[in-house]
Symmetry: D2
Subunit: 440 residues, 4 copies
Amino acid sequence: MNAPAKFFDASAPVAFGGKDAGNTPAFRWYDKDRLVHGRRLEDHLRFAVCYWHSFCWPGGDPFGGETFLRPWHQGADAMAQARAKADVAFELFRLLDVPFFTFHDVDAAPEGTSLSESVANLNAIADLFEAKMASAKVRLLWGTANLFTHRRYMAGAATNPDPEIFTYAAGQVRAALEVTHRLGGQNYVLWGGREGYETLLNTDLKRELDQLGRFISLVVEHKHKIGFKGPILIEPKPKEPTKHQYDFDVATCYGFLERYDLLNDVKLNIEQNHAILAGHSFHHEVALAEALGIFGSLDVNRGDDLLGWDTDQFAMNVPELALVFHEILNRGGFTSGGLNFDAKIRRQSIDPDDLIHAHVGSMDACARAFLAAADMLDAGALTAPLAQRYEGWAAPEGRAILGGQRSLAELADRALSPGFDPRPRSGRQEYLESLVNRYV
Amino acid sequence: MNAPAKFFDASAPVAFGGKDAGNTPAFRWYDKDRLVHGRRLEDHLRFAVCYWHSFCWPGGDPFGGETFLRPWHQGADAMAQARAKADVAFELFRLLDVPFFTFHDVDAAPEGTSLSESVANLNAIADLFEAKMASAKVRLLWGTANLFTHRRYMAGAATNPDPEIFTYAAGQVRAALEVTHRLGGQNYVLWGGREGYETLLNTDLKRELDQLGRFISLVVEHKHKIGFKGPILIEPKPKEPTKHQYDFDVATCYGFLERYDLLNDVKLNIEQNHAILAGHSFHHEVALAEALGIFGSLDVNRGDDLLGWDTDQFAMNVPELALVFHEILNRGGFTSGGLNFDAKIRRQSIDPDDLIHAHVGSMDACARAFLAAADMLDAGALTAPLAQRYEGWAAPEGRAILGGQRSLAELADRALSPGFDPRPRSGRQEYLESLVNRYV
Amino acid sequence: MNAPAKFFDASAPVAFGGKDAGNTPAFRWYDKDRLVHGRRLEDHLRFAVCYWHSFCWPGGDPFGGETFLRPWHQGADAMAQARAKADVAFELFRLLDVPFFTFHDVDAAPEGTSLSESVANLNAIADLFEAKMASAKVRLLWGTANLFTHRRYMAGAATNPDPEIFTYAAGQVRAALEVTHRLGGQNYVLWGGREGYETLLNTDLKRELDQLGRFISLVVEHKHKIGFKGPILIEPKPKEPTKHQYDFDVATCYGFLERYDLLNDVKLNIEQNHAILAGHSFHHEVALAEALGIFGSLDVNRGDDLLGWDTDQFAMNVPELALVFHEILNRGGFTSGGLNFDAKIRRQSIDPDDLIHAHVGSMDACARAFLAAADMLDAGALTAPLAQRYEGWAAPEGRAILGGQRSLAELADRALSPGFDPRPRSGRQEYLESLVNRYV
Amino acid sequence: MNAPAKFFDASAPVAFGGKDAGNTPAFRWYDKDRLVHGRRLEDHLRFAVCYWHSFCWPGGDPFGGETFLRPWHQGADAMAQARAKADVAFELFRLLDVPFFTFHDVDAAPEGTSLSESVANLNAIADLFEAKMASAKVRLLWGTANLFTHRRYMAGAATNPDPEIFTYAAGQVRAALEVTHRLGGQNYVLWGGREGYETLLNTDLKRELDQLGRFISLVVEHKHKIGFKGPILIEPKPKEPTKHQYDFDVATCYGFLERYDLLNDVKLNIEQNHAILAGHSFHHEVALAEALGIFGSLDVNRGDDLLGWDTDQFAMNVPELALVFHEILNRGGFTSGGLNFDAKIRRQSIDPDDLIHAHVGSMDACARAFLAAADMLDAGALTAPLAQRYEGWAAPEGRAILGGQRSLAELADRALSPGFDPRPRSGRQEYLESLVNRYV
Ligand SMILES: [Co+2]
Ligand SMILES: [Co+2]
Ligand SMILES: [Co+2]
Ligand SMILES: [Co+2]
Ligand SMILES: [Co+2]
Ligand SMILES: [Co+2]
Ligand SMILES: [Co+2]
Ligand SMILES: [Co+2]
């Protein structure tokens, strides 16, 4: 099996061609070496290709089966399949010239008939990754363990009614965290896909929250023990596959991290599609995480506002992305995080090159949006009116109120003073919206 | 103007008539003196009629004007209108034989041309309420200040970009809190209808959250200063009128109260319609508030699952209510809280008696649901299977894990031991659902 | 492989036990021989067990794999599996004592490597069904062909951009229709799960609608040719798996059937979960189909109002079902249609008996709701106020307007006549809602 | 009262300034005289300012009162107010240099105490409009009657349970239609805001649909009688203010028009916000109306995908608009229709110039999108791949199938022939999405 050489048509990496690039795959906006605010675009955007959607998913959906028929899904030898898959994956990383990738334990290596065997498989593939990374540019943005696909996790991993399953999950996470550490991963992610419930009729909510708090605390302790420096990232999602997932949204995660004293070690990996499933804009979730000091990384993708499930489409919406990057760049940009393509090509996109088109199109959309955000920041397009709008809070009385130097009675007395009648000012929403349109 | 005597047809309070009561308004399920778990039904359910929907709202919606043409909305003298409205309100309290009512400052008394005049109006009507309450059964469940209708609050009260408006709001809240205290109110509510944003383009999220934290802290301090014993209640709502409201849902409020160190003094007033607008079941929001120790009171109403705005219909859904009451009764029932009818008759319900039918129908639905909940608890219908499902966590190893006596490595080693292969057990959802159907 | 004898614990059919039946599976409300409006309850409700959810689905979801591990899904011989599955299926039909079942071609028999082989497989299993039905009570409510799971249909069957795939689908449908006919099926269903689009960017909407119209016309012609008497049923669903499905809802199907002149031969199979995904209540969809004369049958299940995908849960909501049955019974009840359980047990319900509990619980909920509907009709609880509300349209002027005997000008002139000022009357919604609560 | 001279700061119309126009209001993309496909941009886009949102709405929402405090809403003389409002309106038309406006009867002139008085008021203001239009550029895109605000219409106009109210509505529509005719209106609109229901418990669906069909037929007959040449437009909206509106979406309207034989005279006015409330993209609704031959005009605005009510924001989303215009331009562009700004500035946008900024920003977004659509069409960016995708249907066998020359049996036999195994082709969605991104 020698898949990569044959899988994609192209052999040379996709290059920057500018707006007038022809129809061959080329970046029109993503000029990786362009300097923005003193940093290369590649170092700002920190793109990562994800393993599961691009190399593991066969194209099925709840009403249909496999469509992709990937060559590396054929054959009886699971480890041979895993190696063939890795060959194609690293070939795509090279063709896209991306700096990062991400994976779950079971994406990379097959589960065995026992945890020992699964861990051995994972370590064998990690050896292969290590060897490939030695001669490749690509690094590991983050690793994670899949605690939701196997039937043992049908009622949750950390929040399972059975402590034995919690224990099994601990075994899986230790292995995935240590492999992530060994491969130089810059973060470790915990997505609680089954940490939630199907029905409250059989659920002890309080107990399950405590279980989840305990589990993440154990991971944090272990991370320190082995010297892993990156943050633990949890990923908000409100529902699907469960009816309710405990990491509902950014605000919920904040309260959870406060409650279990995890704010120092855990940050958030925010996904567009999960934001809208929770009833929030992507912009909101990122802005709130920044405001609360828990922003970590992005799963950059796009849901369909009119569908109620996680479509995980490739992000192509420049105006939306520009506001998200405006928020991030205004706080200094990514540190350990990056832009992970938690995005899957549609199941009808069955040509190998569809994988190229999707990533290139979305990388370009991100780059264009990022450049627009930088321009807006340079011009103070949004930041200057914002400062002006809140100027009263920067003045002495505003500072005194916020600083706790005024009581309710003092304020109330002032409000009762003759002639006290503050007048509202225009919010200028349409003006600001059309202003943004000049940049995107 | 002598409205009440003429407004409703009935003059005798609605009485319990049992399931076979005729077509005259009568309670079929709400037998107020019936003892359940040692307490009268009236003392369990603690029904409250709200002022705004039942006496102030003229029947308008975003596409249509007044339909009700209430006599007390006629005439030029706003204080005379307020007194006539109070007459009708207390007449309805009497006819429904409810133990509680609730109001906003501006529901009870008209705003003046200055805050002083508004406060004077409020106190004058409070005098009238006090006089009426002296000879009536009805008590005050809670009072509140309306910080969202007047244009000065169009960009928020506590979270306004202008500290002068924050100050004005402080003046209004002090007066409403003190009136609530004087009338023996058992709680004080803060609903942040405009504490949110219309667009992030003009919003400083972090600053506004700090403003809101400060404002509620001021109210808590003042409450202690004047000796008001009841809790401050905040009311989660995700949106409407704003695009995003900071008190989004129970989980968000929990994180907010943690962040601003308000968990000791503030509880939640949970509304069904707000729950579903946030993507949660009413049951979920109540169960979560109980789990987090912040449950306070209920705005009992009902939204339409297929509409995206706050319809505030009268609660009529017995199966839904039964699970909510199961949760509350299982934790001991209401303390200072109760069941406030934050519900409005449809704008086509223009007959005076529609107000009677709506309240009686919903009180009956609540009573029937409450009795079902008590029966389920007595039989351990849900609680016994729940204990069984989590029994592993009550066993020594489960307790050790949750108690912090196991490290990730210890658990992982155990998971790697030969033959360790925990098996999932049925969640029995359909069985439990049909079991509940036997009771409701 | 001799699955059935071992699969379910029970061996005797579930019987009616009344409200005080003990904890063994028993019907508490479904007394099949009880006469209602002159017809046995069994003949009114016409329950059907569906093959796909109950016997084919392995318990997977988009984030997780098989949980049920059914014995008949093991082994290498697909036809042997199909026979073992049929054994269990007919055993469940017997245990539940249901009068009907339903299936897709591929549920019953495995697809071969060519259409010929698939058709041969189907006919072989149809032989088996025929043999089993000879000694069983169960009959076939409807059959259908699965035109959405195989990758060839990823872009639709009738609406595929490739006429060859349309042709393949025609081959599959002919076989399924003829097998349905042979087995005495009372209807034939076409669910257009992939007849829609993922993106308008690659879709010719007008052409695809014409293709779909043509396809259904071909089926109708063939039905007449072979003498199949039952109606063709199409099943509205707005989306999922596609972004947009052409059979969006009842109203859309009506327009489609009008456009392609299919109103005489095609009726609708309406599903609760599809109704709510389209933004309608189940009640609405049924009432509208009745009003438009295209009501056919029901896929009785239940979605989660707060989730955006087809959860296909077992129907347990008595108040909702009662209004649906009120509508149907008021028009005379089912003719060729029935209540098909297009419902799946949750993937955590892994015990064989969960299949029993789910069906029994839902059959009871339906029976209870049906009895309530009959009582409401007998009492004229809703029908009498309805007639009164529209009485003006039954009076001469109302009839003249509706009968086309008034022009706009005549009406306008009358409206301009002095003193013409019609007054609205109360809609009495809360009264009617609490009235319904007395019955359910 | 001499409002206009003082209301807006500007006195010169907004002009085209190109992308580098300074901060003064200027069009950056809307170069009205630019020729596109042989027509001036102004003649393609046919912008219309609407009266209700821009001049009548006081800034209230369900939780708050007036914010705008327009001078023409002051004073006791309603007709004087109406004239002052008209002065400001025509001043805005001039400043924006728009070719069209739109209005409801009650937007323009106050309702009187009888229909006669209302009609007299309307005609008096129509005289004023006529006079103003004599010296202005602006023409009337369409007129309409408001049949939803007054309490008499609380249960519908045409679909009211009381035929007297149907009659009153007829009187109002005749007057509005005749005024529209007199002012040279190019279309007449019927929006059925209350033609729906709040609860099925009190609704006779079938009868109400017949009433609505009759009403529109009367209007069509009258239109012909008076020689009005433009189409009648109905406007799909699924809900709000009602729970269910009969004109739910384009597909529903199509079925309705078929049923009541109105397809020749009635077209659709499609609104973005209504589309998304119905669960459709704006693109979908326009494409479907074009496919069904019932496209008429657009209410160009924008809803918030995450809110469940009609926010009617100004359209600013260039990528979305480009696909809509691609659809329209591909079918030849607007005939009698145009782009009506059924959009309101946010209630916090209290400065007069916010009206200017909103319109200019949205006109620019539309122009930019339109130019992108024209470029895509010129390049065949989407149309060429589309033709290729469906090429099989243009070939002989495809044409024969669609032309009714193949029976199900013939097709089935062909599918059974050895080796018949059609293969799916890639849908290329990501490629097409990134292709569109090159243009917008
Ligand atoms: Co993700
Ligand atoms: Co996702
Ligand atoms: Co409330
Ligand atoms: Co509410
Ligand atoms: Co179905
Ligand atoms: Co379904
Ligand atoms: Co509109
Ligand atoms: Co609208």
